[in-house]
């Protein structure tokens, strides 16, 4: 009796290796994912841009003399942030949980936990930064436009562009936190999940 293996070519001996995280691949994956889910991407960007525009608009608006009016604006800002946060959190959560199967699959192909977590977080961070950046631009232009309309050439004297870098940083950070906080927990859970569980989760 002939053992079947004798008819096969002998594969060469191998030694176990170790995969490492490839940051460029992580980044490429994140960008690819954003590109392919473009409608969701745009919607999220829009939500964040609105919040960030509002934030920067209020921060550069001439100081309100009336404290009641100021409180009103702040309340609106708070509400706006809260609403957009809920929206973004929800979108990110959905976006990740819908991807469990895909995540399980790429883990079978050699994705490290860090790759899964990394690509999702980079994706979220890009969303947040781009959204906040656009909002920053829009909010500044809006403040400028309204200022010029009201005060003409004297607008710059009234608008508070002092410490603009700091304010812009705050707006960007807000956008970044909105998306990354929303994505962090589900992404972390997904990245730790054994591939098979991830795949059986969602049909």
């Amino acid at each position: 009796m002939k053992a079947p293996l004798e008819t096969h070519p002998k594969p060469e001996a191998w030694q176990i290796g170790r995969l490492r995280l490839r940051p460029r691949l992580v980044f490429a994956m994140a960008v690819n994912s954003l590109r392919l889910r473009i409608s969701r991407t745009l919607l999220t960007v829009l939500t964040i841009a609105t919040a960030s525009a509002f934030l920067i608009f209020l921060l550069t608006l001439p100081a309100q003399a009336d404290p009641a009016e100021r409180e009103g604006w702040l309340l609106m800002l708070g509400l706006c942030l809260l609403v957009s946060m809920a929206g973004v959190l929800n979108t990110m959560l959905m976006s990740i949980t819908q991807r469990y199967r895909e995540i399980g699959t790429i883990k079978c192909l050699g994705a490290l936990d860090g790759f899964v977590l990394g690509s999702v977080m980079v994706e979220a961070a890009l969303l947040g930064l781009v959204g906040a950046g656009l909002g920053l631009l829009a909010g500044t232009l809006l403040a400028l436009g309204l200022g010029v309309a009201e005060f003409g050439g004297a607008a710059f004297a009234h608008l508070r562009f002092d410490g603009f870098a700091w304010k812009a940083g705050l707006a960007l950070l807000t956008g970044l936190l909105l998306t990354t906080l929303g994505a962090a927990l589900p992404a972390w859970i997904a990245s730790k999940m054994p591939p098979m569980e991830a795949m059986r989760g969602e049909k």
């Binding site: 079947p4 096969h8 176990i16 170790r18 995969l19 098979m196 049909k203």
Partner: protein, 276 residues
């Protein structure tokens, strides 16, 4: 001449890696230097799932030794533990007890990076539900494991296109799964599984969602790759016709190996059954 080659091949270095001494039991199935030619070995593998109070024993002491280059079919009723066995062999799930050796390396000893390497380079998975990444093209699906393995993107693309051509999808490289039929998706999955020239292909009911003819094509494709590349194929199926091309067949029942036979012996039995 032959003897020299065998001697040169006898992986002495690898022999020392094996923690226990599983070779003794391997010899039950194989003559000669069993260890150098053994790709998968499971020893008393037990897998339990906890469902609230109840404990389900999906695998109940599996001992299997699978020689390099073998085409092994796994049969068994639904719930007998086939998928669970695949997951355990493929390093996708940790067994509750027992060990799995892939080429004499104890999978339980591997860290995350090594396990990822094993999944990426040494094992190709084919699933019943294809599991093609939906947002990627056929070509991107096939190149992904190569990129994980560190193959330069250009080379990965060329190789990916070659393999897709090999499985008969030359004109579907840039299609996404939505634009592919089930059989075509499964071909992409096969191309993807073979992308890194693995040592083992784990195919869990790869034809269950396909019509008979497409299923046969898929199985024959796997068999061809098995012959050409000498890769070990472990394939579960409900279809008796698929047994013809297997070297050996394992029947599972309630998480145990019910029966294990070479194809030659089964052929007799099947014809015997047909007579009844």
């Amino acid at each position: 001449m032959d003897r020299f080659e065998n001697a040169a091949d006898g992986g002495d270095a690898r022999r020392e890696m094996s923690p226990s001494d599983p070779a003794a039991s391997a010899a039950v199935f194989l003559e000669g230097d069993a260890r150098a030619d053994t790709t998968v070995m499971t020893r008393e593998v037990v897998m339990e799932y906890r469902m609230g109070m109840a404990v389900i024993r999906a695998l109940d002491g599996i001992d299997l030794t699978i020689p390099t280059g073998e085409y092994l079919s796994i049969m068994g009723p639904s719930g007998s533990g086939k998928t669970t066995l695949f997951n355990v062999i493929g390093g996708l799930a940790k067994p509750t007890a027992g060990s799995v050796f892939i080429d004499e390396i104890d999978v339980a000893q591997l860290d995350a990076g090594e396990l990822a390497w094993l999944r990426c380079r040494k094992i190709g998975y084919i699933f019943q539900s294809y599991n093609i990444v939906k947002v990627m093209t056929a070509l991107e699906n096939v190149t992904l494991p190569m990129l994980f393995a560190g193959v330069p993107p250009d080379e990965a693309r060329d190789r990916g296109a070659d393999i897709l051509r090999r499985v008969g999808l030359a004109d579907r490289l840039l299609h996404t799964p939505r634009e592919l039929s089930g059989g075509q998706q499964q071909r992409v999955a096969i191309a993807r599984a073979f992308a890194n020239r693995p040592a083992i292909i784990l195919a869990d009911e790869p034809t269950a969602n396909l019509d008979l003819r497409t299923g046969e094509e898929i199985i024959h494709l796997m068999k061809e790759m098995n012959r050409e590349q000498g890769v070990t194929v472990i394939c579960s199926t409900h279809d008796h016709k698929m047994l013809d091309i297997s070297d050996r067949i394992v029947w599972m029942k309630d998480g145990r190996i019910d029966k294990l036979a070479r194809r030659e012996d089964v052929a007799i039995e099947v014809s015997h059954m047909a007579e009844k």
